[in-house]
Subunit: 213 residues, 2 copies
């Protein structure tokens, strides 16, 4: 009988410890991953340059940043907010951006694609082969990329998240745009603004279909 | 007495003819100058390229286009709408644009400046001396222009009309952006969007004050 009580006690104690561990992990993930869960306003305007570079892991990974000597910023800034919009996608991300050389932003597209989010990219031929271009990484990951091969620029810099949020402005997806240039991004779910951009994306997606040209 | 009646008749007839002439001119100006008087929606999204180049005179001059063989378009398009926003300014136009080489748009700034509208321009040093740059024309007309002389880009492409309407997007003020490139402009009077841009303009206006640097 005393053995039974002892075993029951150990079982209850183990269960209690296990529960506490799970709860602590939950708390840690929750506090570390605030960005991912922040409530989006209807309209948000972001300006660059940021003074520091936001830590992608801290703001977008489920377990946050594991690097105790991380040299990137864990404070919210314009880039971290952009990260959280991109990582919030559950259905689709349509990207229509002139230059994509920022590996952190390209990595988020690949991550979303691997989770099953439908990612499509439209860009310009003049920028596909510039140093640091992320187009080949995107294609290697299986993300379809369509290219404007005309002599004019596909100069847009917008993305649409879940056909709901528009991200648009002067901001190309480059490192220089994050910490150097004067840039802006408007993010909104105002349908009067988002819907015309959804149509524009579909128009260009067809226009730059290599099978149509 | 009959001379008096005759003179009165001629006077009344002359007055009638003069009235008719004035009325016809008024009708002509009104119909030609529809653009200038169109009612602006709260939010408008414009895409480029336009298929034709809008006639600046038709959409912005009080007497419209006087050229019977005009080779420019008298049909409303994205550029004509941009013209009508710019020419609607009564108090101020703050321009913060990376490249300004389009003479039609620069001419509208000069025209507004001459009417007494306070025009201010912020731009980037890398673009000041490119072929077709309109910066010197603006300065010659007395419009103050402040320049980002850093190695990074002042890459914004926005303008604020009467502190009320924001014009913003991927669109630099170039001819190529009008009839060649894929571009967008969002125009809105939504305060949640306009006010941050007003602050950004004032910040950059001070930052690039040559007396402060």
């Amino acid at each position: 009988m005393s053995t039974f009580i002892l075993r029951s006690g150990v079982l209850i104690l183990s269960f209690g410890i296990a529960s506490e561990i799970v709860y602590q992990i939950y708390k840690k993930v929750k506090s570390r991953n605030n960005g991912n869960r922040r409530k989006f306003p209807k309209t948000e305007v972001l300006f660059f340059p940021d003074e520091t570079v936001a830590c992608k892991a801290y703001f977008t990974d489920d377990y946050g940043c594991k690097n105790s000597n991380c040299r990137f910023s864990h404070e919210e800034n314009s880039l971290s907010k952009l990260f959280t919009y991109l990582i919030s996608a559950r259905i689709s991300i349509d990207v229509c951006v002139f230059v994509i050389t920022c590996s952190d932003l390209a990595d988020l597209l690949v991550k979303s694609h691997k989770k099953g989010v439908v990612v499509r990219v439209v860009t310009d031929n003049e920028q596909v082969d510039v140093p640091g271009s992320q187009i080949w990484k995107l294609r290697k990951a299986g993300i379809p990329v369509r290219i404007d091969n005309s002599s004019f620029f596909m100069h847009h810099k917008f993305a649409i998240i879940d056909q709901e949020h528009l991200i648009n402005g002067s901001f190309n997806w480059t490192q220089k745009a994050i910490t150097g240039n004067q840039e802006n991004i408007l993010i909104t779910n105002n349908e009067d603004i988002v819907l015309p951009f959804i149509s524009e994306f579909e128009k260009l997606w067809l226009k730059f279909d290599p099978n149509q040209n």
